[in-house]
Amino acid sequence: MNKRQTRLFAIASTAIATLLFLVLTVDSHRQFPTLTNSENITEEVIRGQQVWHNYNCINCHTILGEGAYYAPDLTKITQLRGTPYLTAFMKDPSQFYDEQKHRRLMPNLGMSDQEISDVIVFMDWVSKVDNQGWPPRPILVTGAALPGSDAGAAQQQADAGARPVAADNSPIALGEALFRNAIPTCQACHSMTPGVNLAGPSLAGLGAFFEQVKASGEYTGKATTEEEFIRESIVEPSAWLHPGAMYSAGGTSFMPPTYGDDLTEEQIDQLVAYLMSFK
């Protein structure tokens, strides 16, 4: 090839690639409304996006896998955790995580109630964008999809939960610790990750699950709200049997019926608060 031919090669390949790229850009714009549910981009979502930018969230966290790698990915966070929990977390992250334990902590940003509620609405919109099903498995902040696989036996004893707890901590944090060190431990049979069913079913998303069970007409217990449903399942596991032959037999749940007697009323409240923090 001589220089003229190579120049032609450079120009032609650039031009073809550019043209193809522009055509695909036009087509992408055609598909954006469907992929991103653009009809759901409300004033709140737009304000929430501004909050996301104002607090420079992307330079610690990632969203849709983009950002810095210093803090957890938040793409699907609103599908894992409910609004009350996320609100309480943003008001004071140190209630839920401990810098000494994880060597990292989110600073208290001093966000207003309005900003917190807007940014949650924004993140919820993001979580519903069609992004080809990424992440392939839920990305957790702490703990493990298979409970206990994140730490050795000695560590499990030493510090249960996402942080060492004191009596004045948020009930959610106390409930998380209890989930790990109640006897027998809840996490021996239950994962908090959606779709991970162990000896007992996954406990993620109990609110939505209860609505579904109620609507099916097969619910046999007395609960009318998510909170009552969770409490009933702890104290009286056989009041309603979770579908599936591996969870019960002869009308009796395989879950130990002892928690109602062994745990105090306050401890059960804490467990309920923790389980309700998952969406």
Partner: protein
């Protein structure tokens, strides 16, 4: 330095060096926060140090590009710059823009949009600087009447950088569309038009350092530009994985990203063979180290380490982990930091006073410590990233618990980053220890004992239509 106005390059390089040093301070600070706990949590949190770290990188590399271009354009067009005054005005605006942006970040001013954190007035100042710069360069070439292929590629690269910054000024209420256009600036800069700039700098350096034939080198420069754009433009697709764009970007990204190393391997071969075949070896062996080093490190960091995670079925697991930081550090350093240091090292013996032509011992220490340090940092990010992907993404262990398990890699990162920082400190020291030269001087007169590759008059053809005369 054959033209008096080339001395403006010194002040651009000097600013670039200062900002480079600052970049490392904030880089080390950010790295130490990975170890934690962070005593500066409420004073100078990670998001601020990281923003400053990446923005200083962009600003200093661009400052280096501008200085290098002012230096090269005079040599290539054999002319004084059109306006030295404009070049200094531009530098002044640029420096004020850079410094106020960084100070602003410390106090929380910024757009919170990754890599495009510059507030609007700063973005406008950037555009103004780019326009002054391009005007000055174009007028220099016009007044000289000599326009080489190297200059053509360089100019096109710089002009496209300015144009591609414009999408960054757009605002979208739909965050997904905002992401889509953000990559037009970021990706098409670093994996497109900046590679044209790097390619042009390489061509300039190789012609002068190896005495290789200009016609041959410029012919291959076109091939490299063609390959860069075939792969680079559609390779934007690998930034469109899992962010809410149509699914066809996945196979497109996989295919065209796999082609990206072709251009970079080509660039490395181009450098290697021109040195082997070149007639006479220029005595500035240190500049040769940086030049070949840049081509090879780009192949490694941008090419191979990029390829390591651009197939969609792999990226599904690695997306948004420290694997990206591994690739980012090695690629940016090899392609852009090193090429700027190559031009600086080439220019220094005549740009400053009392210097040996072949580089000082300090200069060699700076080179090898940086090489070792950056290679170690890349390995630290890689091992941390592999651990993170396996534990967090595959086994499903929580993010914070995994970060605790990979602490040892962060210690490794800080150790290797410190070695790198010593290398950079030596480079900066070596740069500043001699006073700048303000009067033109001929290289052959200054270093009469050195064998220089051919006389200046034999460089290329003097016609404005150089590009048409190749065969």
């Amino acid at each position: 330095m054959r033209y008096k106005s080339q001395s403006v390059a010194y002040w651009y390089f000097a600013l670039a060096m200062v900002l480079f040093g600052l970049q490392l301070v904030f880089g080390l600070l950010s790295a130490s926060k990975y170890l934690g706990p962070d005593p500066l949590l409420n004073l100078l949190p990670f998001d601020v140090t990281k923003t400053v770290h990446t923005n200083l990188l962009i600003v200093w590399v661009l400052t280096g590009f501008m200085g290098a271009t002012y230096w090269i354009i005079s040599d290539e067009s054999r002319s004084e710059l059109y306006s030295v005054k404009l070049a200094y005005i531009q530098l002044g605006i640029w420096a004020i823009m850079g410094v106020t942006a960084v100070v602003g970040y410390l106090f929380g001013y910024g757009t919170g949009n990754k890599l495009l954190e510059q507030p609007l007035p700063h973005k406008i100042a950037i555009v103004v600087c780019m326009l002054i710069f391009l005007y000055n360069i174009v007028m220099t070439i016009r007044q000289s009447g000599r326009f080489t292929t190297t200059e053509g590629v360089l100019l096109l690269g710089l002009a496209s950088s300015a144009v591609l910054y414009l999408p960054a000024l757009l605002h979208w209420d739909n965050y997904i569309i905002a992401i889509y256009y953000r990559w037009w600036t970021i990706h098409l800069w670093v994996e497109g038009v900046w590679e044209m700039i790097q390619g042009a700098f390489l061509a300039y350096l190789l012609i002068r350092l190896s005495g290789a034939d200009r016609e041959v080198l410029e012919k291959w420069l076109y091939v490299i530009v063609g390959l860069v754009f075939i792969a680079g433009i559609l390779g934007t697709a690998h930034h469109y994985y899992w962010v809410g764009v149509p699914a066809y970007w996945l196979p497109l990204g996989g295919f065209f990203s796999a082609l990206e190393p072709v251009a970079l391997v080509g660039m490395a071969m181009y450098a290697y063979f021109s040195i082997r075949r070149g007639g006479v070896r220029h005595p500035n062996v240190l500049a040769l180290h940086w030049t070949i080093g840049s081509a090879l490190f780009t192949m490694f960091g941008a090419g191979l380490l990029g390829l390591a995670h651009t197939f969609p079925s792999i990226n599904k697991w690695t997306h948004g982990t420290l694997i990206t930081a591994m690739h980012g550090h090695a690629a940016f350093y090899g392609a852009y930091a090193m090429i700027v240091m190559a031009v600086i090292t080439y220019a220094l013996p005549t740009l400053t006073k009392n210097r040996q032509v072949d580089g000082s011992a300090v200069g060699y220490w700076a080179f090898w410590l940086q090489m070792a340090g950056m290679f170690g940092m890349t390995l630290s990010f890689a091992t941390a990233g592999i651990g993170q992907v396996y534990l967090e993404r595959v086994l499903g262990i929580g993010y914070l618990d995994v970060q605790l398990k990979i602490q040892i890699h962060f210690i490794m990162l800080i150790v290797t980053a410190s070695i790198f920082a010593i290398g950079v400190a030596l480079f900066i020291y070596d740069f500043f220890r001699q006073a700048p030269r303000m009067e033109p001087v001929d290289e052959a007169e200054l270093f009469p004992d050195a064998t220089l590759p051919r006389g200046p008059s034999s460089f290329g053809t003097a016609s404005p239509n150089t590009a048409r005369m190749g065969s």
